[in-house]
Symmetry: C2
Subunit: 150 residues, 2 copies
């Protein structure tokens, strides 16, 4: 595997991140790197929120993978804080190399460091490869994830 | 249905909220109102975070239902902000009265008001009644929810 670093995303990474979101079986109909404006606005919100971390895996400082980690305080489970992983993507040229597993392990470690008792995520029911991937990392598919579009 | 109000939870509601969390088929093994200290600490974190809202349904100002709404900015889906619902509970004496549906509808409306494009939640796969309840409110069970205990 090539040398890589996992680091906080910067504004100039957004173009590469959005291309990864759009280059995806489900994201293709939902995301488009043609107009970055809404993404940059969202990035500024994420970047100024201390409970949000948007990270990239970079090779030669170029993003080839990304995920977002949200820290959610809560009352249930004796006041347990949760780490929630969203928007995990690895560039098509770098899939199957172990980068994705390292990136998710980074998010698990960061959640532990921030005192979380639990890490959670949802994955579209059609992404069966992703489900096996999360299973190998120790995640249990104990829940059904519901969405309502507004 | 008795007159009720939906309002932001206060520190003095935590005892009643934790009793509802503990009086639950799954929460019974995970929550306990005997020691409120960890819950009060979590409440303070939730209450000072502008992206968190812990609410109660109250009758005569006494909490008989609760949920937590988290506002999550994100890049995916053209920079869509999400509203995430957690820890929905209705006191055993008030189930089947429509309070729960009104409470979830409040969270949907609040998410819309805050500019969210999506509302999401997960529910343990064993809670089949809850799944029907969310289906009636328009939620689609499109995802698998994974958890990893730390």
């Amino acid at each position: 595997m090539a040398d890589y670093t996992i680091r906080r995303a910067r504004r100039e990474d957004i173009d590469a991140i959005v291309r990864m979101l759009a280059d995806d079986q489900l994201g293709a109909t939902r995301d488009d790197a043609g107009d970055l404006e809404p993404y940059l606005r969202a990035f500024d919100e994420i970047d100024t929120d201390p409970n949000q971390v948007l990270v990239v895996v970079a090779i030669d400082d170029k993003p080839v993978g990304t995920l977002q980690l949200t820290i959610i305080p809560g009352l249930a489970r004796r006041g347990a804080t949760r780490g929630q992983i969203e928007a995990v993507r690895i560039h098509a040229d770098h899939r199957g190399t172990g980068l994705g597993a390292d990136l998710v392990r980074w998010a698990i470690d960061e959640s532990r460091r921030r005192g979380c008792a639990l890490v959670q995520l949802t994955s579209d029911t059609s992404r069966t490869d992703a489900h096996r991937f999360y299973g190998r990392l120790g995640f249990i598919p104990s829940h059904t994830g519901f969405k309502l579009k507004l």
